[in-house]
């Protein structure tokens, strides 16, 4: 099927040189199209032996598509993959693994009901007399885990492990396959700052052990902290290579195509009356586990309360409980002393509360509907748009045109389906709709997830403006930088509890520790060169 296995060539080479030599990879003119969309447009990339090569780009720039071709999950339409000077075709991940290439995917490729050892053995099982050699599988896991300092328990069920541990399992899985080039696809997206630090240390260790790493990310600080070289990709094209010494704003400009301001301009808050009051709130998640546990919170008029925390610590359930999408187990939620728990979501929305849900495509917009229709999803049955029986298309269209203008929604027409817009413009549709009612409270969950930098700026500006006119604002984000930039007070959420409420000028490392659930101030702080300690946004 494939040409003379490089497996054999590699073995030969290691025998000759008496040690494992990291491989050299070259991608030449890789092009991949999905219908009309050119996801990768003649991309060139060279990874030298033993380096950490960062692949920097916004969401949707084509980084993962490129790497999936390198890993044999997709086949390029044009271009070639050259490993150690030899052009190769990877028809499946098996070929890529045989050539010494491993990948840790953004969404972990682990079977939840299998043990760690089973997951690692899968696809490369060793057998004894036809049966799985479990003892050997365990031993291999422990060996690799020890050699590279990646603690994993071979007998643990993967579904019971925290994400940081699952990621270690993924890395160990790749390393047991004896790969020399490791692709890490957005590895820090799900990690706390401390876990990120640990991962960066592991990456350095792997390079010292002679492995090359392709590090896919859109986080500038991490790139500067670890990369030997940086390739920036924008809209499917290579737009430049840079060294880690390049300034952050320069990298950001390369990434998004223009210079952008990274900080949010805002005046000090002038908090007024208590608007949202949550006390003793407990909420169960879909599995019935208590995801929000005895939370007390107050959001005042004219302030932004930011909730920071690694995703999955109860933020989603908290917000859904406030919006009447989830029935609390206990506690009370009031806005200006009105009880929200007894109200339906529709009543809650119409009582002066705006809500930007965290998953735009699932809960924020109806993709098949037009921009205009999406803009009146909340008020279609009220004047001037209509009543209980009929809709007034002229009124809907008129107000849509106004809001498209006002919120800078880039669409060919208000009649275009929302699904055809970019993520940032879809999000602006949601924000425009939610800010079109008179508001007392504005809640935004992950307001800029998957949104381009230009739209981020715009949305942040609108949120601050809403605060300035006296609305109480609650922002939930797993991007610490976003919370720091927007919030007047930061509540850190961990395992369903609010660990602390701190001012936004709290040092990063302190926030990071809180996000990891560590409140003990005696714990030694990380060293001075800690990239997460540097201020600024991505």
């Amino acid at each position: 099927m494939h040409p003379v296995s490089t497996g054999a060539a590699r073995r030969l080479r290691s025998v000759l040189r008496l040690q494992e030599i990291p491989l050299r990879l070259e991608l030449r003119g890789i092009t991949k199209r999905f219908g009309d969309l050119v996801a990768n447009d003649h991309i060139d990339l060279t990874v030298e032996p033993g380096e950490v090569h960062a692949l920097l780009g916004e969401n949707g720039a084509g980084k993962s598509t490129l790497m999936n071709q390198l890993y044999g999950l997709l086949q390029p339409d044009e271009g070639e993959i050259v490993v150690d000077g030899e052009a190769r075709t990877f028809r499946s991940p098996r070929d890529a693994i045989a050539a010494g290439i491993g990948m840790v995917h953004q969404h972990f490729m682990l079977v939840p009901v299998f043990t760690v050892a089973e997951n690692i053995a899968l696809g490369a099982e060793k057998t004894k007399a036809g049966f799985l050699d479990r003892r050997r599988a365990r031993r291999e896991v422990l060996e690799v885990s020890e050699r590279y300092g990646l603690p994993v328990d071979p007998d643990a069920l993967v579904e019971n492990l925290p994400v940081g541990a699952q990621q270690r399992v993924e890395i160990v899985k790749a390393l047991t396959r004896d790969v020399d080039l490791l692709i890490l696809d957005e590895p820090t997206a799900v990690l706390t700052p401390q876990e990120t630090e640990e991962l960066l240390a592991v990456m350095r260790g792997l390079c010292d052990a002679g492995k090359s790493i392709v590090f896919i990310t859109h986080k500038l600080k991490e790139v500067k902290a670890i990369a030997d070289r940086i390739t920036v990709i924008r809209r499917g094209r290579t737009v430049g290579t840079a060294s880690p010494g390049t300034a952050e704003d320069e990298l950001a400009a390369l990434m998004v195509g223009r210079a952008v301001t990274l900080e949010v301009d805002k005046t000090p808050a002038e908090p007024g009356r208590e608007v949202l009051t949550i006390s003793g709130l407990a909420v169960a998640d879909d599995r019935g586990v208590r995801a929000v546990d005895d939370v007390d919170l107050v959001v005042r008029a004219g302030e932004v309360l930011g909730i920071a925390g690694v995703q999955g610590n109860g933020q989603t359930e908290l917000v859904e409980a406030v919006m009447g999408l989830r029935t609390p187990l206990a506690g009370s939620i009031t806005v200006d002393n009105e009880d929200l728990i007894r109200m339906s979501t529709k009543q809650i929305l119409r009582s002066g509360i705006g809500y930007v849900p965290e998953d735009r495509s699932l809960d924020g917009v109806v993709k098949e509907f037009s921009v205009a229709e999406n803009l009146v999803l909340d008020q279609y049955d009220r004047p001037p748009y209509g009543n209980a029986f009929r809709l007034d298309p002229a009124a809907v269209d008129k107000s849509a045109r106004e809001r498209v203008e006002q919120f800078d929604i880039r669409t060919s027409s208000p009649d275009s389906a929302v699904g055809t817009l970019s993520g940032g413009n879809q999000q602006k549709v949601v924000v425009a709709r939610e800010m079109s009612r008179p508001l007392r409270l504005f809640i935004a969950s992950q307001p800029t997830r998957g949104v381009d930098v230009g739209s981020i700026e715009f949305i942040h500006g609108r949120i601050v403006h809403e605060r300035d006119v006296g609305t109480a604002v609650l922002v939930v984000s797993s991007e610490l930088d976003e919370v720091v930039a927007l919030a007047d007070r930061i509540a850190v959420m961990y395992r369903g509890k609010i660990l602390a409420i701190v001012p936004p000028d709290t040092p990063r490392e302190e926030l990071g520790l809180l996000m990891a659930g560590i409140t003990d101030s005696t714990r030694p702080a990380s060293d001075a060169g800690d990239p997460a300690a540097e201020k600024g946004t991505e």
């Binding site: 890993y71 999950l73 997709l74 499946s92 991940p93 098996r94 693994i97 990948m103 995917h105 490729m109 682990l110 079977v111 939840p112 009901v113 299998f114 089973e118 997951n119 053995a121 899968l122 696809g123 490369a124 099982e125 057998t127 036809g130 049966f131 799985l132 899985k173 003793g280 169960a284 019935g288 586990v289 208590r290 009447g324 999408l325 029935t327 609390p328 187990l329 206990a330 506690g331 009370s332 929200l340 728990i341 007894r342 109200m343 339906s344 979501t345």
Partner: protein
């Protein structure tokens, strides 16, 4: 969507399983308690005060366990109440499954004491009858296990049975060989499985819909050929040789177990051996690990170089072979000839056994035996002229499956990717 909660209202969904008072064990306890009370009061009152004999032989002769029917019904009923009370009190939670089984068993015994009072129940006959009825269900459920653990739903077991039964009768008669019949049964099963596999895996058609259509197709094709071919000339087309009965010397002389397990035919042994083979295959071999991975998380399997679709094809076709053997049992062992729609829904009961047995080979075996026992008991009851309609017992497999799917007897979790075609993104 309707917020009805106040500060103290408990969520109806399970919150923390250990923290709630009405946990699974207590709910089951209430159920067992109720059936125990039913047994004690109803069965006890209805049972005549005559001796119920459970003979060890195939008829009324020989050694027997005897008990007064009324006394037995009340005694076992009280034991069932006790089991229910233990569960309800939250005692012995570590052994709750055993206590639950004891509760159900004593309920069944109480029922039997009532029914058998003044009569006799031959245990060997009941046991071998149960096994005979269970064998095709075991084959069918194992066929389901093979397909569904790799992520392909197989509701076409009924159709595979029919094709297997038909192929065995036709080729067995024409070739004059029971082994040729058995082989053709496998081919018949694979034929249906092959269509299912191609449509489900290659063309991504909804697997349940394909399964149902294939059942109808098999029914139509075999029914047509039966009427046109077999009915016209049964001698040349529908008189397959019967599977020989083999008696293992020594082992066959063990009381009760011997005549049931060691004086029987190859297909019974094959079914029981396959349960072990599939179990160890799934848990201990490379094929099994990969099969389970493909059924749970096909993308993960793909990224480590496993051919997802290939493995699914293999498993569905293997399932076809196994279900074909189940079909052969109808013509080569049970009746000796093919008849239109002769499987009469057994494939669906096998599907029920698969689910009731939680997609595991041993679970499927247990469920198949349980359903076989219910059917055997139904025929016994109508033979002794019991006032209990035997339809009640024939209902049992479906009822049990509904209970199982509703999650009342523990969490029933299908493979995560069951029924989802794998498309590379």
């Amino acid at each position: 969507m309707t917020p009805v909660s106040t500060a103290t209202v408990e969520n109806p969904a399970e919150v923390t399983p250990t923290g709630r008072f009405w946990n699974r064990q207590r709910r089951l306890g209430v159920g067992v308690l109720v059936i125990g009370l039913l047994a004690t009061i109803l069965f006890g009152a209805l049972a005549p005060s005559k001796t119920a004999r459970f003979t060890l032989s195939e008829d009324a002769q020989g050694a027997a366990f005897s008990i007064n029917g009324k006394l037995g019904a009340i005694l076992f009923g009280v034991l069932a109440i006790a089991a229910g009370a233990v569960l309800l009190a939250g005692l012995l939670s570590r052994y709750s499954t055993a206590v639950l089984s004891a509760g159900i068993l004593t309920f069944v015994l109480s029922f039997l004491c009532w029914q058998v009072a003044g009569n006799f129940l031959p245990l060997v006959d009941t046991a071998s009858g149960t096994l005979e009825l269970a064998v095709p269900l075991i084959f069918g459920a194992l066929a389901g296990v093979l397909g569904e653990r790799s992520g392909v739903i197989n509701v076409a077991i009924e159709g595979q049975f029919l094709m297997g039964a038909f192929g065995a009768a036709l080729v067995g008669t024409m070739a004059g060989s029971v082994w040729a019949g058995l082989f053709s049964a496998a081919v018949g099963g694979v034929l249906i499985a092959g269509i299912l596999a191609v449509l489900a895996i290659r063309y991504l058609v909804d697997q349940t819909v394909v399964g149902i259509v294939l059942n109808l197709l098999a029914l139509g094709v075999t029914g047509f050929l039966y009427e046109r071919l077999m009915q016209a000339d049964a001698q040349s087309y529908n008189q397959p040789p019967k599977m020989p009965e083999w008696k293992i010397p020594g082992l066959a002389d063990i009381p009760v177990v011997g005549p049931v397990l060691f004086d029987t035919n190859l297909l019974v042994w094959l079914a029981l051996i396959l349960v072990f083979v599939v179990h160890f295959g799934l848990t201990r071999t490379r094929w099994g690990l990969r099969t389970r991975a493909v059924g749970e998380h096909p993308t993960a399997a793909d990224t480590v170089g496993i051919r997802v679709r290939g493995l699914r094809y293999l498993n569905v076709l293997l399932g076809g072979v196994v279900a074909g053997f189940g079909g052969a049992y109808f013509t080569l062992v049970a009746t000796g000839s093919f008849n239109k729609n002769m499987t009469a829904g057994a494939g669906f009961i096998a599907l029920a056994a698969l689910i009731f047995g939680r997609w595991t080979p041993f679970g499927a075996l247990g469920a198949a035996l349980f359903f076989g026992f219910a059917q055997k008991l139904a025929t016994y009851l109508s033979a002794v002229g019991s006032p209990v309609p035997n339809q009640f017992l024939n209902m049992l497999p479906y009822l049990a499956t509904i209970v199982a799917v509703a999650g009342l007897v523990g969490r029933v979790r299908a493979p995560a990717a069951d029924g989802q075609p794998y498309v590379k993104s």
